[in-house]
């Protein structure tokens, strides 16, 4: 079994690793090192920082993330259907409609339960 075909991949890998290192080194070499207070502040755009960032993200983010996860991934079934839409015809359309109704049902449930309310 020959693995010579992987050599271009290896070259890519090496270049990909070297490129950021080299650019960072060049930048370090040329840039002036002058620091002052406003330059070191977060955001670096003039907005005053009035409190420390919160350590933990609020649990609401998890709820949104979970909902996103489900609806994002389930739509993976739409792609093969869309590609083969003509071949599948009415049967495929009805199947996909049922599938989407089930998904929308879950969405309505989450909505009614207030999972999408932010406050």
């Amino acid at each position: 079994m020959s693995h010579a075909q992987y050599i271009p991949l290896l070259i890519f890998l090496v270049i990909a690793l070297l490129f950021p290192l080299v650019t960072l080194a060049i930048a370090k070499f040329f840039r002036p090192a002058k620091y002052n207070k406003s330059k070191l502040s977060p955001y670096e755009c003039g907005i005053e920082v009035d409190k420390e960032p919160e350590r933990n993200f609020h649990v609401r983010y998890y709820v949104v993330a979970v909902i996103f996860l489900i609806f994002d991934v389930e739509t993976v079934f739409l792609y093969p259907w869309a590609v083969k839409y003509r071949a599948l015809g009415l049967f495929g359309f009805v199947e996909m409609a049922i599938f989407l109704i089930i998904l929308i049902f879950g969405y309505v449930y989450a909505w009614k339960k207030g999972a999408l309310e932010w406050e």
């Binding site: 071949a87 049967f91 049902f105 449930y109 339960k113």
Partner: protein, 479 residues
């Protein structure tokens, strides 16, 4: 493209899905509607049961009823197991009605989650395609993880759920990997096509081993049992009743179907593996049950040991063995629903009183409850004149006929050990004094379920012929 849809075959799943949708929607409505969720869920299960028995059963002959090119396959065998699952579900719903009200945490979503799990079991049982085996297993497991952690304000419950989740995910990974290997070796996911190509080369062996491990996890066979005691103890007691029966019946049932009808050529290979698993399961389950301080946890270990007896039946590799297992499962369903049902009544507010110390004197204070519990304990121990004895009798008889005398002796030895810890419950109920007086609310619905179970345990123990005949027919027509 022409696709014919067999609505008769799909209907049980559609009914159950309608039940899921309705109960989940009820969760967004007002309280007076919410209270009906248990009823709606039970109706949908009963309706699905009726449909399977009245519409699908007559359509099955000696050959199974196939639709969607084998994606849904109903045989006498799978219908028998589906019946067990659906009956368990109704009993669990009836028990949880009281339990959740007492807990003051009754939400319609609880029923939706369990219904989703039941749908998964139906999918997994009634198929002859590995894709549906995998999807069914996931649809079975994922809601169960959630239902174990349902009492989300109790750390034990959430901890049990998380442990079950992590180990269950390993199990589904194993099963999926095994299916991938079988697919690679045979080029198909359909049972009937695979049977024709099965050889004993290494890819098949690897695949079979992984599938066996995945299903052994779900059946809680040693050494894949670590999750079971924690999940059983943490879950709400009616959920424990449900998950000690239904997923076990499904895992064992599907394991038998895969081993017997897809890999019959490899019998010498898998027989050894199942043999070792069954001996370990019986020994570890029984001895770990002895040292427990909580009756609920003891019953969890006891259900592990019962998985061991069921696995022993698989080793026999005969119709007699399968029919013994099916009879055992039917009896086990009655006994375990009852035993956990009694425990689910020992509850005041948030607190469960299910340790050996807590059940002292129950037999005097609540005579009916004491009698029920004694019946279930005697039956689990395998005392004659109960269904538990007949189940063990059929399984061990099949083993002896298959020339596995020593394995049968291990099983009988295990049952003798188990008599100790089952009778300990009875002793605590009748022979010890309890310094604390507790007033339990004996809910009528739950008591009815317990009464039906205990009467049937005795009746089926005295007159087992009818169930044994049905189990025999189911065992003979697997495909």
């Amino acid at each position: 493209m022409n696709v014919t849809v067999n609505m008769t075959a799909l209907m049980p799943l559609i009914i159950l899905f309608a039940g899921i949708s309705l109960t989940a929607l009820m969760g967004t409505m007002k309280d007076s509607v919410k209270r009906l969720a248990g009823l709606v869920a039970s109706i949908s299960v009963v309706f699905a049961f009726w449909w399977v028995m009245e519409r699908i059963l007559p359509a099955i002959g000696t050959a199974a009823m196939e639709s969607q090119s084998g994606m849904l396959t109903y045989s006498y065998y799978s219908v028998f197991l589906s019946g067990i699952v659906l009956i368990t579900a109704v009993a669990a719903f009836a028990l949880s009605e009281h339990y959740l009200l007492e807990e003051d945490f009754s939400h319609p979503e609880f029923y939706a989650i369990l219904l989703a799990s039941i749908t998964g079991m139906m999918v997994m049982l009634n198929t002859s395609n590995f894709v549906n085996i995998f999807i069914g297993l996931e649809l079975l497991s994922i809601p169960l993880y959630a239902s174990v952690a349902y009492l989300r304000y109790k750390p034990e419950s959430v901890e049990g759920g998380l442990k079950y989740f992590i180990l269950g995910a390993i199990a589904s990974g194993f099963l999926a990997y095994g299916i991938a290997m079988i697919y690679g070796a045979s080029g198909s996911l359909d049972f009937i096509t695979i049977v024709k190509t099965v050889k004993t080369d290494s890819l098949f062996r690897l695949g079979l081993l992984f599938i066996l491990m995945g299903l052994a996890f779900k059946a809680a066979a040693v050494p894949f049992h670590m999750w079971a005691p924690d999940a059983y103890e943490g879950a709400a007691t009616p959920v424990t009743a449900f998950m000690s029966i239904a997923p076990k019946a499904v895992a064992i049932g599907v394991l038998i179907r895969i081993l017997y009808s897809v890999f019959p050529q490899m019998v010498d290979y898998w027989r050894e593996a199942v043999l070792v698993l069954s001996i370990l399961t019986v020994i570890v389950g029984n001895f770990a049950a002895i040292v427990q301080q909580s009756v609920k946890r003891m019953l969890a270990y006891s259900s592990i040991s019962h998985a061991g007896y069921l696995l022993m039946g698989i080793v026999a590799y005969s119709v007699e063995g399968v029919s013994g297992i099916l009879f055992y499962l039917a009896g086990y369903m009655l006994i375990n629903t009852g035993a956990f049902g009694v425990l689910s009544l020992l509850k005041i507010g948030d607190d469960d009183f299910v340790s050996y110390d807590d059940i002292r004197g129950i037999g005097y204070r609540y005579p009916l409850l004491g009698i029920f519990m004694s019946v279930f304990m005697f039956s689990l121990a395998g005392i004659p004149a109960t269904v538990g004895f007949m189940g063990k009798f059929y399984v061990f008889k099949a083993l002896i006929h298959a020339n596995y005398m020593s394995l049968a002796l291990v099983g009988i030895g295990g049952s003798l050990v188990s008599v100790y810890y089952y009778l300990r419950v009875v002793v605590h109920m009748y022979m010890k004094e309890n310094p604390e007086e507790r007033k339990f609310n004996l809910n009528f619905l739950s008591m009815t379920v317990l009464a039906i179970c205990s009467v049937l345990v005795i009746a089926a123990g005295l007159f087992p012929a009818k169930i044994a005949d049905i189990a025999n027919v189911a065992a003979r027509f697997m495909n």
